[in-house]
Point group: C2
Chain length 231, copies 2
DNA sequence: GATTGCCAACTGCTATAGCAGTTGTCCATG
DNA sequence: CATGGACAACTGCTATAGCAGTTGGCAATC
């Protein structure tokens, strides 16, 4: 086995180069759907799409099956595949589900995150502090995403990681908007993240889960995805 | 469009006959894994498995990708696929995740379940009452499963339905055991289900979510999947 | 004109073949 | 004996071809 140093040196390019065709088609289609480039109800043909993407029909089919699992397309066997419609209510659904799963991830992270993982989260928190002070929403959003990704990784559950990655796509187009809409919310979000890290350090799964859940729900309300009336 | 009557007459066989080969392979493999017939670490080859099942490699591959999403197998690109190991701790994880998602489903069901769906749940509840009185654990488990399936359907969310179906496989082998272990728990579970239906009828998503979550967690503790110490 | 049957052009699904990495073994070499 | 390298036998991944249902329109019939 190679050493850690050589691992770092020969690490493959982390861009979208080394992706399998199926994975690439999945991401491309997913992004196109959440951006609204593919309207709801649009018929998708495995062959046609394969021709468009310049690849075979097999990877396209695999991508469509994943999108179906994500709830983004609907496939009628032997008949056809159409992109599902997700209006505001559907987005609210997915948001609430995400809040529940993020909570589960936080609970597991509280049990398992080692010092290295906690240090990485702390580093992202430092970035978020700076970005919050400078009102740099773009940088803040990036750090926020990395922070949550660290939590997902610390949870160490494949199913959870996969599910949360899928769910994250849903609020892709209103993520920045959520942070920009009410600048007063920025310090609040920062405080919530700090509270989360404290819960992790206390090894308190219940507390971490509840805090994460509340954090995501409040973030969704701030972005207008959820009604303010909901608890 | 055909009438409802002809729909009933010409409804295809609801057995496992009309399943696609990929779906069949998925279920077969999944069951084999949860039953322990395929030990953790066992290497799985797409070609080899296809030969064993008497089908092509493509459906097998599709099944393996789903199992990977479920966290049941681990695939190293261009190298190989092995069945993941899930000891008691992993089962506890999946159980807690399931509790969170069942809660989300219950919340959505409270908002959307129409009278017909509620009546169907009530019917299953009646069966559960009888089975509980007669201590018929097998019949009770079946009714219990149908009740939860009705909730999932009432939630009306494809992602949720798919995820919960996948998660349900994890506690397949200790489901009956959970109900048999402590007969005193049976009336408690029945009361919880009744409380759930009441929450649905009150259109109270928060209450339904919390009750469902508590119900699943308690059920897991009764089955020994979760430690008793956890709240 | 409304209706029924049929046929062609789809659709998703499966089988087969071959590509491109990975891995382990075996032999030549130090 | 230890070590390195090449080769063969894998692996997952992709491409192509063909099967089997579904669908929509067109023509023949009532």
């Amino acid at each position: 086995m190679a050493s850690a140093a050589t691992d770092l040196i020969f690490r493959p390019t982390e861009g979208q180069d080394a992706l399998s065709l199926a994975e690439g088609a999945y991401r491309r289609l997913r992004d196109a759907i959440v951006r609204g480039e593919l309207a709801a109800g649009t018929k998708i043909s495995e062959r046609g799409l394969a021709l468009t993407l310049g690849i075979s029909a097999q990877p396209v089919r695999e991508a469509l099956r994943r999108l179906e699992a994500d709830g983004m397309v609907l496939t009628q066997p032997r008949s056809g595949t159409i992109v599902a419609e997700f209006g505001p209510d559907r987005l609210a659904e997915m948001g609430r589900i995400r809040a529940a799963l993020e909570g589960s991830a936080a609970a597991l992270a509280a049990e398992r995150a080692d010092d290295a993982a906690l240090a990485l989260m702390d580093a992202q928190l430092a970035v978020m502090r700076e970005a919050t002070a400078a009102a740099d929403t773009v940088r803040l959003a990036a750090a926020n995403e990395r922070f949550h990704a660290l939590v997902h990784a610390a949870a160490g559950n494949a199913f959870l990681l996969r599910s949360l990655t899928s769910l994250r796509a849903y609020d892709h187009f209103n993520r920045v908007r959520a942070l920009e809409s009410t600048p007063k919310e920025l310090p609040k979000a920062l405080a919530e993240h700090e509270g989360l890290l404290k819960a992790f350090r206390k090894r308190d799964p219940e507390l971490a889960e509840e805090r994460m859940r509340a954090h995501v729900l409040r973030s969704l309300r701030a972005g207008g995805v959820l009604k303010n009336g909901k608890k």
